[in-house]
Assembly symmetry: C2
Homo-oligomer: 351 residues x 2
Amino acid sequence: MAASTPAPAPRVLAVASHVVSGYVGNKIAVFALQSLGYDVAALNTVQFSNHTGYRQWTGTKVSAQEITDLYNGLRQSYLDDFDMMLSGYIPGAEAVVAVGNIAKELKESNKHAPGNFFWVLDPVMGDNGKIYVAEDVVPAYKGLIEYADLILPNQFEAELLSGVKIVDLESLNTAIQALHDKYRIPHVIITSVNFSPPGQPSSHLSVIGSSMTSTGKARLFKITFPSIDCYFCGTGDMFGALVTARMREAVQAVPGLISQPSWLSDDSASAAELPLARAAEKVLASMHEVLTKTRDAMPGVIERTRARLSEQDRASGKGEQQIKSKASELQLVQNLECLRSPGVEFKAQQI
Amino acid sequence: MAASTPAPAPRVLAVASHVVSGYVGNKIAVFALQSLGYDVAALNTVQFSNHTGYRQWTGTKVSAQEITDLYNGLRQSYLDDFDMMLSGYIPGAEAVVAVGNIAKELKESNKHAPGNFFWVLDPVMGDNGKIYVAEDVVPAYKGLIEYADLILPNQFEAELLSGVKIVDLESLNTAIQALHDKYRIPHVIITSVNFSPPGQPSSHLSVIGSSMTSTGKARLFKITFPSIDCYFCGTGDMFGALVTARMREAVQAVPGLISQPSWLSDDSASAAELPLARAAEKVLASMHEVLTKTRDAMPGVIERTRARLSEQDRASGKGEQQIKSKASELQLVQNLECLRSPGVEFKAQQI
């Protein structure tokens, strides 16, 4: 028996929000990572009835002290043996610092074994030119980027962190090089890059990623994929969870890389060959399939939900925002195979 | 496209505890139900670092008011369209009443459509002759059983609810008939039945179930399966989650049954033909496979965890309880296929 025992499941600490109904934050991350065989410790930073896109919700946030206490509870029972950590939405600057302290401690306790611990940080601060967290969260994140291994800012968050306004491919490249320079952050992916004027939808979107060389030079790749003309919540969280799982897989495919500091590829690797590029390709394939299936199922959800409304609500148009939000909840559990074995392919290209 | 849209995923409200690391309560229920294609709304009644079998933990309980608030949040955004509800550990009598009120409301709002809503209630109160909740939790549960469709007491909880001391098959049958009589509860499964003297392990265990007839008569079946000589936490929670999923599947296989009140089979159905028996067979098959694989992997987990201890802790034997608890955490994510398509078979027999 012992001879055929499979390798233990890699352990990930996922720190993000929890919603009772629907799919954002840890409600996505836990299932996505579990479905790919990861043993997930889920530290929930809030418990809300539903995501805030519904414009109404109930529930409570977890304090910075509670986050620290929960982690101390893990440590005292030898449950802090994490291979990776993924952090998403964290409510408030104090809580951001508390989560940062967890990551720093995990980093410190693994310093004798490079590559043993890898932190994927999604610096959730805002989108489309607007900060939607408290102002003091921005400097709190800026103080943590240097401890992360991979960051996943959207275009606006990349501007906030780099200080570079992104308007075209050139300024985007400048921003990523600035992130490598300023924070010595090894890996960066900028999700949902779009240079179209506001309000003008584009038929394709790109993600741009880079893993730096030993001298800190960006190695930039780009993956372009068809956009789906529909607004979904939680796509950033889904990207983060899947890239966490797929990054480790891609790194394990390269002999010896998993024991290199921050899993940084040899300088001889070109941008399009990077494990980060391999991972992002697979993630976007899964996402494209899940989003397509979610969009196709939307009319049915809208119809079934409207049928439950009182006549008064239906006549007044009350509840339309909530019905739309419900219909655009990502259909993850219905599409497990898209997470595990996506069929489509989008290829990374060196910039 | 619309023509090929698959049936919507059934929606389950799962109310139970959440642990950051490991597998009990909702940490099992959410993944088990999701992996079988259910859209799970997870209302967490506590957030603890780990389960209490470790004898040390951190975290907080959710109040009765917070449980009610979270549910009201769901309702106001049309997210209360549940096909099923599964309730597990609930901290305190007030919170038990709050969860009961949710179930009653869901029952009431579906009264025009029999079979539209089904509540699986695990009355978590104690085990092996001991109550491990506050004393006032017992009457709180007693007041709710009549609203449930299926209850899953262990042997001791069945004694508490029925008032019948269970010592052999005959008294067990009396207890189940008493549950049908007293509470008009349609379906009962008593998990982990064991008539061996205490301390004397038995090589086989049984579950006993019954779905009553239209006149309230028990239809009893028994499924026997090999026991695994090892103590696991969360097996009751795993049973509850899987039986919730498999019960609906088994009911759907019988034409028209899903629109019968409480999914009660026609009086012509014999005990061994009941959908409840079909469901329990599949659940025990999955559980036997997952528990076997968990046991086989335990020495590896123990070895890896001990290797991380300080020399001082190792010499003093400190941490052995925690290491044992960690090693016996159910290996669910590593064994997704055992949940989805178990291979072994245990057959229900009419008593």
